[in-house]
Symmetry: C2
Subunit: 154 residues, 2 copies
DNA sequence: CGGAAATAGTCAGTGCCCTGATTAATTCGG
DNA sequence: CCGAATTAATCAGGGCACTGACTATTTCCG
């Protein structure tokens, strides 16, 4: 009888939080476009013509996952993929008109959804919520590339 | 140019948090046993003989996902599945000796991992972190079953 | 008792997420 | 200039997560 209380495990909590978000997204935003897909659309609204790898970096998806997401968005006609004439390895990505329209529509709904999602917290609590999660995620993220040796600095 | 700042979107943050956790788990806890699998082992240490659906409820996994997770743990010999003689629909689950040993080993490592994961936060911040995430997740979870009509109470 | 409703579990289908291996194109160094 | 290292993308493979449809069993009620 050495069971542990999962509610004190940040990983478990993080998973539950994401599930809760998934649920709300599905009912309040879209059943077709997922949250990661929206993130990709958003990245390409901000910076049209990005290549696949960079989009992945912007939204936090690895090369394999971003390839799948982009392929789905392409199949649905929300973005175009053309080979970079300057560098034949890359594909340059750009939203179609339909992609831009979809992004605009979902932006509104997403904002509403975020309000409902965060409604249990006061305004101050919401900013603490963001701050704490960001700090934890950033720190763990940093552990991945161990001590990037700074250029010319002991 | 109506792009949105994803760092103010709780869903995006939740996803990043979980990715960060996944990363740390893989390097500090286990490459074979995943965090959801550990949650199942833990539930069965606490309450041996649970049926599949209830385990899913305890750890927050739907019927399909819990079935897969349990099937993997069964294949690896960490738990046994026997049909309930009282109710032929159910399977009763119980850890094997190997399952108990594995749970014990991972419990130690998980504790260490959680410390590293939460290290960026002070002790008070950590409890706020738990509290805020739990409240948001619980509230969204509650929206799923809309207003369970209380028994005999207008 | 016997049919309808409820419940536990499976299955098919979609999508996210990662690692490690591979392929194609570019860049770097001798 | 040419081979080696690097880089962008793909592919194979494993695992998580959900919905909707289906099967088997049990329960509920007339």
């Amino acid at each position: 009888m050495a069971a542990v209380d999962l509610t004190t495990h940040p990983g478990h909590l993080a998973r539950r939080l994401q599930q809760a978000h998934y649920l709300l997204w599905n009912t309040m935003v879209s059943e077709e476009i997922t949250s990661p897909q929206f993130a990709v659309l958003n990245a390409l609204v901000a910076e049209p013509g990005l290549d696949q790898r960079t989009v992945g970096e912007r939204v936090g998806l690895d090369r394999s996952t971003i390839a799948e997401v982009i392929s789905r968005l392409g199949r649905r006609g929300l973005l175009d993929k053309v080979r970079d004439p300057q560098d034949g390895r890359r594909f340059l990505l750009r939203l179609t008109d339909d992609g831009v329209r979809t992004h605009r529509k979902l932006t509104v709904r997403t904002a509403r959804m975020n309000q409902v999602f965060l409604a249990p917290l006061s305004a101050e609590e919401q900013s603490v919520f963001f701050d704490l999660i960001r700090r934890v995620a950033d720190a763990a993220e940093g552990l991945r590339n161990p001590a990037e040796p700074l250029v010319a600095q002991g």
